[in-house]
Amino acid sequence: MKIAVCVSHVPDTAAKISIGPDGKNIDPDGVTFVVNPYDEFAIEEALKTREKSGGEVIILSVGSDANKESIRKALAMGADSAVLLKDDSWRDSVAVAGALADEIKNIGAELVFFGKQSVDYDNSIVGQLTAEILGFNCVSVVVSLDINDGKIRAEREIEGGKEVVETSLPAVITAQKGLNEPRYASLKGIMAAKKKTIEEKPAATYENLSEVTEMKRPQVKQPGKIIGTDASAVPELVRLLKEEAKVI
């Protein structure tokens, strides 16, 4: 069975983000990019599935040459091969999903893993859109997965609990934290990854259905103030909570 894992290359969550001069993009200067953290759960689950049932794990990524760093990491974790669907321009979720769906059809993958969301734009819809375009079943925000003879039993996180879903292949699974503990890239894996070539082809053309018109920083939090450090400050604190903060 061919298993595809769709990987995005995103700013490290610890990076300090500033908005670029056009006001529509982030300024990438000095920002470290990493594999989208949720995609690491997706890669791990694909590798575990291959270890259990055999098959081949193929990494797919839409974007520029910079994405190769994250693709290499996925290969070093143990993926078999990778395709970079090249496009240097910005794509919305629909255009990304379209390009991925075309390639998934092309390679004939029956099982596709995504992270439940990319931590750059946080749209949380590329997996579902891809499944829709392909006509695959889809289970999102999965925290436990069992696949046997083409039957899938998945647990997904829902508000205040878990939902158990059964479906069948072909399917798209989007991974949530807790699904597994991603392995580190291994020394052997990185030696093997050096010898693997990343196939590059232009991403299929799909029209963006949305555009970013403006990026804004969240409002700066007002600094706190210390009214006092002992009991004598209590009356003033109560007054401020009543009159200024209006919470009591």
Binding site: D12, A14, G30, T32, V34, E69, R72, K73, A76, E181, R183, Y184, A185, S186, L187, K188, G189, I190, M191, K194, T229, D230
Partner: protein, 494 residues
């Protein structure tokens, strides 16, 4: 300037990361150098004991007061200058090391000293000559200090620049900013030829700045430091490798140390930044949090080396060859592919010590941990000696640390008072053995107030008195950080 005396506000200043707890009358929060001068002048007049406090991460009670007042350095936390062209930074004493690292690296520069605990103040790392995993290649904090502003216990100030004042033999002459001359007679002991933070740094013809670095605050208060920076390495290879047999791991480290120290600076030859060791008990401690640790692992080594696009493949091959010679498990070895992974490996190393702390807190027991180092050729014998002695006495322990520097932390976790007493005796014996092998009782944690007795194993009474005389010359009324390094009884005698 704030002076706090309320118990709830000063209790954070009464202990450090050891379990040692002290008392004080109150804590000053100076904003600048002038405030510190004022406090010291006043204390010196009144013969009032002063203890200087960093961020409380020390392990030997160095900042724990035994009466008197405390000076907090929390508010002296400005980064005054970062000079990217000439590669230096000038900082106040209370700048947090972790924040400094981030700030420097964003500018493409690098500050090599990397104590495992990064939540410490830069001035304190100078006072303690702190070191870490990468000190194997880059050396300790001392190697990066170019200039210091020091306020003496008398309130006099002077600025010392590296290369400006050297001792004439064992006599050091200093002039304060107000023009007073001070003549210091240095002790004549020979320091161990290992990584060392036990006692004052003393050598014939030494640079004056080196006396203050590592003096644990006993000679003056550091208010401002100029630190040397280097270019940020293009990339760093970082691996955690597992071995079934601990001897293989130790032999691998010995092989990598030899290749690294004999490296003629060729970028495509093995040249480790650090070689950190974890024994099987350390790995067992970590297994719950790191399920990726292979089940068969009997030991692990974390190593790092600078690489670039050209050397990466060549060096990977060389490391794999060396690892294979020593039966490492290449299949399961972890490798970092980006900065984030590298941080995770650093956290893995830090997790050993924090897991021990969590465990002893949960079980309500006290740990006894070594900080000894021995010369490289003695290391295998010393390792066997220490592990055998603890095993024979059936005391629960783990051992990990900077094996590249022949410097390990063996932590004993005695479960009752009998075992605790036994562990104390064993600890004494481990220190004695290190000294017999011409090593040190403290390679990086310093002496503080808790390890003074072990310093006595290294230096004769005469040498300890010579150290006390240095202190007394600069602190005639004996007010500053009393109890650190030198026994107060000896201070009174000289």
């Amino acid at each position: 300037m704030k002076f706090k005396t309320d118990n709830s506000e000063i209790q954070d200043f009464l202990n450090d990361a050891s379990n040692f707890k002290g008392t004080c009358e109150g804590v000053y929060f100076p904003q600048n150098e002038a405030d510190i001068i004022e406090i010291l002048k006043d204390a010196n007049r009144k013969n009032l004991q002063v203890t200087v406090s960093g961020n409380g991460t020390g392990l030997n009670g160095g900042r724990v007061p035994e009466g008197g007042i405390v000076i907090s350095t929390n508010n002296l936390n400005r980064v005054i200058e970062i000079n990217e062209e000439q590669k230096y930074a000038v900082v106040e004493t209370g700048v947090l090391l972790s924040e400094f690292h981030t700030m420097i690296e964003q500018k493409g520069l690098f500050y090599p000293p990397d104590p495992t605990e990064q939540n410490c103040f830069l001035g304190a790392t100078v006072a303690n000559n702190s070191s870490g995993a990468k000190s194997f290649k880059y050396g300790p904090t001392r190697d990066y200090v170019e200039e210091l502003d020091v306020i003496l216990p008398t309130g006099d100030k002077f600025t010392i620049k590296r290369g400006e004042i050297s001792a004439d033999g064992f006599v050091l002459k200093l002039t304060t900013d107000s023009g007073d001359d001070i003549v210091i007679q240095l002790p004549r002991y020979r320091m161990p030829d290992t990584k060392n933070s036990a006692g004052y740094y003393c050598k014939a013809g030494m640079d004056a700045i080196d006396l203050f670095i590592g003096s644990e605050g006993t000679l003056g208060i550091i208010t401002r430091v100029k630190l040397k920076l280097i270019d940020k390495p293009e990339n760093i290879l970082s691996c955690v490798v597992f071995f079934s047999d601990e001897n293989d791991a130790l032999n691998f480290i010995a092989g990598a140390v030899d290749l690294s120290v004999n490296n003629d600076d060729s970028p495509d030859q093995i040249n480790a930044l650090g070689l950190e060791y974890f024994d099987k008990y350390s790995l067992r401690f970590m297994k719950e949090e790191y399920p990726q640790i292979p089940a068969h692992a009997g030991a692990a080594v974390w190593f790092e080396q600078e690489i670039n696009d050209y050397t990466e493949e060549i060096l990977l091959d060389k490391w794999v060859e060396l690892l294979s010679e020593h039966n490492a498990d290449i299949e399961t070895a972890w490798i970092a592919t980006n900065d984030k992974d590298r941080e995770k490996f650093k956290d893995f190393r830090h997790a050993v010590s924090s897991k021990v702390t969590e465990y002893i807190t949960r079980e309500g027991i006290r740990k006894i941990g070594t900080d000894t180092a021995v010369p490289k050729d003695q290391f295998p014998e010393y390792y066997n000696f220490i592990t055998k002695l603890v095993e024979e006495n059936n005391i629960k322990y783990i051992v990990y640390g900077h094996a590249g520097d022949s410097h390990l932390h063996l932590n004993m976790m005695p479960v009752n008072q009998n075992e605790y007493d036994l562990a104390r005796n064993i600890y004494h014996r481990l220190c004695e053995k290190a000294v017999e092998m011409k090593g040190t009782v403290s390679a990086e944690h310093g002496i503080g107030k808790l390890k003074r007795n072990y310093l006595k194993l290294m230096y004769s009474d005469e040498n300890l008195k010579a150290m006390a005389k240095v202190k007394r010359t600069l602190d005639p009324n004996l007010i500053l950080n009393i109890g650190n390094i030198i026994d107060p009884e000896i201070l009174k005698e000289v």
